[in-house]
Symmetry: C2
Subunit: 406 residues, 2 copies
């Protein structure tokens, strides 16, 4: 008699963004005349850059001819892409990461959900609170999170590191010693960044207690300030304690193209076991590589033309971020983020809960954001807006929010 | 102190196809002058059909314009693709499968590796022997397979169903009652098919004992005989016991494009729990959808032009299958498969083991196949050749094998 994985049944409700999607769909169906502006899910809106379009067309043409057709990709990604990543994202910044330490995948969401698989079932995880839900939910599904306390909205076996206005949204070392530490900077959802010195402290801490840091650097392209690290491998000692996750979704608009990668240095070990070889085994067994045409698109991100075009695209979104930040601040909102990240983190006004403010914005001014409480208990009363809309929609959304008499 | 998932350490050696890849690479590096013909990994060689190329270009163009750019796909796949699948693969064959019972993914390898996650850790799995290694390895990684007996090449907690020449390579009901039954027909690696009556017996068996069948129909496009089911949902009662996995890799040459899907009927339950909702939750949490351009390519598979072009492509490969089958039979090999599947299953000559024959073919005539023992203990002394080469290479490979004085 088959039985299900009961850990799945412990998950409360549905995945955050699925819930938002459903609420918006329902509102939209009952109010078809309303123009909804979505600054919620973090999806980009600008088209792919010309250099990427050109690379895609060219790769499609290759797939049309027997001489240049490509079947199964190498398990861990094509060398042309891994070389481009190693050179541009790492070696150019003085990080000693080799091409064969890079594992190409269909995106950082998959990688951040799957990476826990190579660790023991009794590993203790530490996460920031608020946090990207995938880190926690994937560990719940694996039975690592313990039981859910619905009143407190926490899992009994997860170590939470509150990120609050008081600590500048930067986590402090937890009281209990974790085995795995999830860090994401620039941060989703708070938009906060930490300095190289702060990140170095985390690397030293992890090396000291034998923990592994899973470092999600999906938003590094949005860093505008000096002294904010783009990669954890800028810190000394990171090669023995850190895995880094990267995405092409936000720096190159690949949310619908699907491409990301994970870096695992060869020195990184748990006891005597190389995590590089375990992850290689997982990739080889459970995955069949990213599409050839998509990997060629990824390569174009690093071409001279691609770099210039994407720099402009990032600047476009960061202009939106500034507009939201300043606009809301002017009318008295408490806002942060938006300087090194495409997210604005704001306090819901008048003591509203996150979901009350979500409903208020959706129903009264037809703007969709993301309730902070969806990211963890310390996200309650906060709200995330993204800079990934068009400029016109961003301006209109800010005007609409300003018009609310709250 | 972090620790690894020790189940990974139980896996002997590396994934079968990675080992073959390494052996071929090493031989090739030491013998750069040799022309190697690969009839091993099951990768296709014909370019994508014109209708698919056209759909890809057109979708790429859409990604270049703000009005038609697409970001995150719906979790479970675009409706245009799910509708095309439901209509063409199911409803046209009289199977009552709705579009919202179809989950689009990046391929059947990922799905067949991931599907075990929604079942309890103590589920007993039954597999054919020989078998596609991913079914077993993914369960090993989840701790469900028990311990490996290297001498017997079996896992202590896996129920094996031998598929031998004596039973026509069709599994018999196992002595012990399984919770999950993996079936793949037309079969990889043996190339055998089973009749609708035989499959109906399995559906009845599963419904009776409360087991779930995971039915891998990746090769259904190669069925040439009447009375061989293309889908398990052609059998009565399958909606309450079966999950079906499908691929675009072999019917449309998408090995390097990456697209597949899983069907989970809404009636399928374990106890009171809907597997459809668990899989939807997994998709939503751990996956971000197949690329838009790839889903448009998938849609083109079902266009009139696409259907005609792919019918010709399948016929091309099946002509190769016949050529291998007949050529080897002529010189005295014991061969099967190749009629409803793109695989030829042959007995290694002169009492050689599978790997001895692999080395012999690689080193003496520079032909790469797949050792049967890599698929399980009852694959020992067998060997798999695929029909996915070019016609010219296939002819040459057969001539080379015939030339061996064994």
């Amino acid at each position: 008699m088959s039985r299900v994985n009961e850990n799945y049944l412990k998950l409360p409700g549905s995945y955050l963004f699925s819930t938002i999607g459903r609420k918006v769909r329902e509102y939209s169906e009952t109010h078809p005349e309303k123009k909804i502006i979505r600054l919620g899910i973090g999806d980009v809106t600008q088209p792919l850059a010309p250099a990427i379009i050109e690379a895609l067309h060219s790769a499609v043409d290759e797939m049309a001819k027997p001489e240049t057709f490509r079947g199964y990709a190498p398990d861990l990604g094509y060398e042309f892409l891994r070389n481009a990543i190693a050179k541009n994202d790492y070696q150019a910044r003085g990080c000693q990461i080799a091409a064969d330490e890079i594992f190409v995948s269909d995106g950082a969401k998959s990688d951040s959900a799957n990476i826990q698989e190579v660790f023991s079932a009794d590993s203790r995880i530490a996460v920031c609170d608020p946090v990207y839900p995938v880190y926690v939910d994937s560990n719940v599904m694996a039975g690592r999170a313990g039981d859910y306390d619905a009143a407190k909205q926490i899992w009994s076996n997860v170590i939470y590191m509150p990120c609050t206005a008081e600590n500048g949204f930067a986590p402090e070392f937890p009281m209990e010693t974790p085995d795995l530490i999830y860090l994401c900077f620039p941060n989703n959802p708070t938009g906060a960044a930490i300095t190289k010195a702060q990140l170095q402290d985390w690397v030293d801490y992890a090396n000291k207690c034998g923990a592994v840091i899973i470092y999600d650097a999906a938003y590094e392209a949005y860093i505008s300030e000096e002294n904010i690290p783009h990669s954890i491998y800028e810190c000394e000692g990171a090669r023995t304690c850190a895995i880094e996750l990267r995405s092409f979704s936000k720096n190159a608009g690949f949310t619908g193209v699907r491409l990301g990668f994970t870096v695992i240095p060869k020195e990184l070990k748990c006891g005597e076991v190389s995590l590089h070889s375990l992850w290689a085994r997982r990739h080889g067994t459970k995955y069949n590589g990213a599409p050839y045409i998509v990997q060629r698109a990824g390569e174009a991100v690093y071409s001279e033309a691609g770099k210039a075009q994407l720099k402009a695209q990032v600047a476009y979104y960061m202009n939106n971020a500034r507009y939201i930040y300043q606009g809301l601040k002017e009318v008295g909102y408490t806002v942060s983020g938006g300087v090194n990240a495409p997210y604005i983190w704001l306090k819901a006004p008048n003591g509203m809960t996150s979901w009350e403010f979500f409903d208020c914005l959706l129903e009264r001014v037809n703007v969709v954001g993301t309730p902070g409480s969806g990211f963890g208990p310390h996200g309650e009363t906060y709200f995330r807006l993204t800079a990934f809309g068009s400029y016109e929609n961003t301006v209109e959304a800010v005007e609409r929010i300003k018009s609310l008499q709250l």
